[in-house]
């Protein structure tokens, strides 16, 4: 059934008012931006999310989490998207948790994540484009462990993370899934330089330089040369989550825009009376519904361990990126001049959409995935 069950509805009913209040733009995004916060999010909110049981949403109950699935994580992410609430929920509680699950590293990091005191980041991209199979950062055997050298970028929350999951190449060559190994690198590892950058949407992502970073063999997440397994789990979860967050961004921007159409007067009329705007608004509404359904479908397939999940994940991420872009562009345009000001919130939606589109692969990356997975 592609409808939420009672428990999932209850979760939505709890999270929606919480994000609208505690996670509101004025209280979080705008506040942290304007106070120059180095993390781009509030640790207080991260702790509150933990108290609600959300940071451990995907962590098994045996590790102190809620043991829920992607559908539930997406419920939270859509509300985060609607309110542009900055937090490490997507990177840490969703993507990193999925990478760490069922590995020897889980016990070490899950309690802190569930308690809202640990932040984890993923270091995948090495160039300006997302290309996980192209991972080239070298990890060479050194005694009982490994030595890592190379660079990473677009490491979201990399400057705030206690641990960074770094994809490196231990065998094969760039372009191959085999031969990638995922390492858990502590933030204070010797030889690791973290260059924290502010992105367009005021969130933070780091460029990393690893210069002979020495790691013990137990830093390996999963199997040596078999890092694609935890990495693809993280990517599936992160992309599906990002699709829901983008759907939330689209819905939040659209709600603001539809309200404006109901209030703003020109030519002695409410501008929402003009058919040219009504039709564009109605088109946008339908697209957001499609985006939401695609994200839900991807989440359900992931939770069910279905073979077709990866295709639907790519569909959901590409669709959500398109729809969110449409929503923020229509939003700014229909708001007119006020939409160009920093004072109005609609512009924040446009900035967030741009970052989330690129995260874990942009619209065109995922359209190409759809083609490849469909056999053409």
């Amino acid at each position: 059934m592609m409808t939420l069950n009672d428990d999932q509805r209850m979760l939505a009913d709890t999270v929606a008012p919480f994000m609208a209040d505690e996670g509101a733009i004025a209280k979080q995004l705008r506040h942290w931006r304007d106070t120059g916060c180095k993390d781009g999010f509030g640790h207080g909110l991260w702790k509150q999310l933990a108290e609600l049981g959300l940071t451990g949403i995907l962590i098994p109950e045996a590790h102190g989490g809620a043991g829920l699935g992607q559908v539930e994580a997406n419920v939270v992410l859509e509300e985060i998207g609607k309110n542009l609430t900055p937090s490490p929920f997507l990177t840490t509680a969703v993507a990193a948790v999925r990478a760490l699950q069922d590995t020897a590293q889980a016990e070490r990091w899950f309690p802190g994540i569930a308690a809202g005191v640990t932040v984890a980041a993923l270091a995948i991209d090495e160039g300006k484009r997302h290309d996980p199979t192209g991972t080239a950062l070298a990890a060479t055997r050194q005694g009982n462990g490994f030595s890592l050298s190379g660079t990473k970028q677009f490491v979201v929350h990399g400057g705030s993370a206690d641990v960074i999951l770094v994809a490196a190449r231990t065998a094969g060559s760039a372009g191959e899934k085999d031969g990638i190994t995922l390492f858990a690198v502590p933030k204070d590892a010797s030889g690791l330089t973290i260059d924290n950058q502010t992105l367009t949407d005021a969130s933070k992502a780091a460029r990393l330089t690893l210069d002979n970073v020495s790691l013990d063999a137990d830093a390996v997440v999963g199997e040596v040369d078999g890092g694609w397994s935890p990495l693809s789990r993280a990517l599936d979860a992160g992309r599906t989550g990002a699709a829901s967050e983008l759907t939330g961004v689209a819905a939040g921007a659209a709600e603001m825009t539809f309200d404006y159409l109901r209030q703003r007067k020109q030519f002695g009329k409410l501008i929402g009376e003009f058919q040219v705007l009504q039709h564009r608004a109605a088109h946008l509404y339908g697209e957001i519904e499609i985006s939401r359904a695609a994200a839900l479908k991807a989440a359900q397939l992931l939770d069910g361990g279905d073979d077709k999940a990866t295709l639907m994940v790519a569909v959901a991420k590409a669709k959500a990126a398109k729809v969110a872009r449409l929503s923020v562009q229509e939003g700014v345009q229909m708001h007119g001049g006020i939409g160009m000001t920093d004072e109005h919130d609609i512009g924040f939606y446009m900035k967030r959409q741009a970052v989330l589109d690129e995260l874990f692969g942009g619209q065109r990356f995922h359209a190409a995935e759809v083609a490849a997975l469909s056999g053409y």
Binding site: E273, Y285, V370
Partner: protein, 384 residues
């Protein structure tokens, strides 16, 4: 439902025994569709046998009550039946506007006698129905219809003209919107059923750009109709009409799914042109995402939490998608696809279908009408 696994096993066994092998192959075209009705000529014994077997079990309309010729299945059982049919590639035993449009309206608004009589005939494929909605002066502004229906005491007398009546020249009966009062636009419409063999009914096919004539002009000249053939109350036919339109829009939106469920890029074979390939991939994203919304919508309907105006969202998205699909198929076909009569082009099959899709966003209410409905009933925009 008693036991889903047992029901699935029973269904599978029954289909294995009763679905003829010829009915497990993909339909090659319109001629393989079983429409039923008094004038229908079965293409094969297998087609006839398959309809007979399914109708006897009520499975032409699995979720209708068994008292009206249906299978009396729950939503979950209906889903299992459809899955099992899909698994063996079973063709739909019966396609009709009686099933997809009139049936749901009768179930909601019909009298007990009407339901027993008409629904049972529909379920067995005995009567083929057409839809008398649009008129030359009432297209998008459907409620402006003028076909006159006078109360003559012991019967109704109908005079006027309908247009875009699908397959009127092959149908047995018509469900028709008529004007029973001129005092109110929406409040003067009634929903009438009558036999197309009645004296005074005539039809004239309309030749379309595709070279086919799926639609007719339909004329009523002093047609007498029995008094008990109004559905719902007199002058309250607009409610029935709108309810039926919701079902029509659902049905039409199904074309957004494109049949096979395959990605278009795979269906058209190798696409060497990089730009076209990119456009097709972009289309497949939209198409597969739309399929997810379709699946969700069906579940929402079953759960009773679909917005009443949501069929408009489905219809708009599905038909615009289908038009795009055919534009891309034509592009992929290149000049081969332009041959109108050749054997290689199977008589211009693709080009004719491509032209036919242009009606998708017109019939059942234009895209613009659907957007207006969404703006008004879902977004509640001012003045919509």
């Amino acid at each position: 439902m008693s036991d889903p696994d047992a029901f699935r096993a029973d269904t599978r066994a029954w289909l294995e025994t009763n679905c003829p092998p010829e009915m497990r192959t993909p339909m090659k075209g319109e001629k393989d569709v079983c429409w039923g009705g008094r004038n229908f000529e079965f293409q094969s014994e297998a087609q006839k046998k398959w309809l007979g077997a399914m109708a006897a079990r009520g499975w032409t309309v699995p979720d209708w009550p068994s008292a009206y010729g249906g299978g009396g299945l729950s939503a979950a059982e209906t889903k299992i039946l459809k899955e099992e049919m899909a698994a063996i590639g079973a063709r739909s035993p019966l396609t009709s506007f009686g099933i997809s449009m009139l049936g749901p309206a009768l179930l909601k608004y019909g009298t007990e006698e009407q339901k027993k009589h008409f629904l049972t005939q529909i379920a067995r494929g005995e009567i083929r129905w057409c839809q008398g909605y649009s008129e030359p002066g009432a297209g998008s502004d459907l409620a402006g219809l003028q076909t006159k229906c006078e109360d003559k005491g012991d019967h109704w007398l109908v005079n006027g003209q309908k247009v875009w009546t699908s397959y009127a020249d092959q149908c047995d009966w018509i469900f028709c919107l008529v004007r029973t009062s001129t005092e109110s636009k929406h409040g003067g419409i009634s929903f009438l059923l009558f036999d197309m063999a009645s004296p005074g009914v005539s039809t004239k096919p309309i030749l379309l750009t595709s070279g086919y004539s799926p639609f007719c002009e339909t004329f009523f000249d002093d047609v007498k109709v029995p008094k008990d053939q109004v559905v719902g109350e007199v002058n309250k036919g607009w409610d029935v009409a709108k309810y039926l339109l919701g079902h029509e829009r659902e049905m039409i939106s199904g074309m957004g799914l494109g049949g096979s469920g395959d990605a278009l890029g795979k269906a058209v074979g190798g696409v060497e042109d990089a730009l076209l390939r990119a456009e097709i991939a972009d289309f497949d994203v939209d198409s597969l995402a739309f399929a997810a919304m379709s699946e969700r919508f069906i579940d929402q309907l079953k759960a009773g939490d679909a917005h009443p105006a949501f069929p408009s969202v489905m219809k708009y998205a599905g038909t615009e998608l289908n038009k795009r699909r055919y534009e891309l198929m034509m592009a992929a076909g290149g000049s081969n696809a332009l041959e109108w009569e050749s054997e290689a082009s199977r008589g211009g099959k693709l080009a004719r279908e491509w032209l036919r899709t242009k009606a998708n966003s017109i019939e059942g209410g234009t895209s613009e009408i659907q957007l207006g409905i969404v703006a008004k009933h879902i977004l509640r925009l001012p003045g919509a």
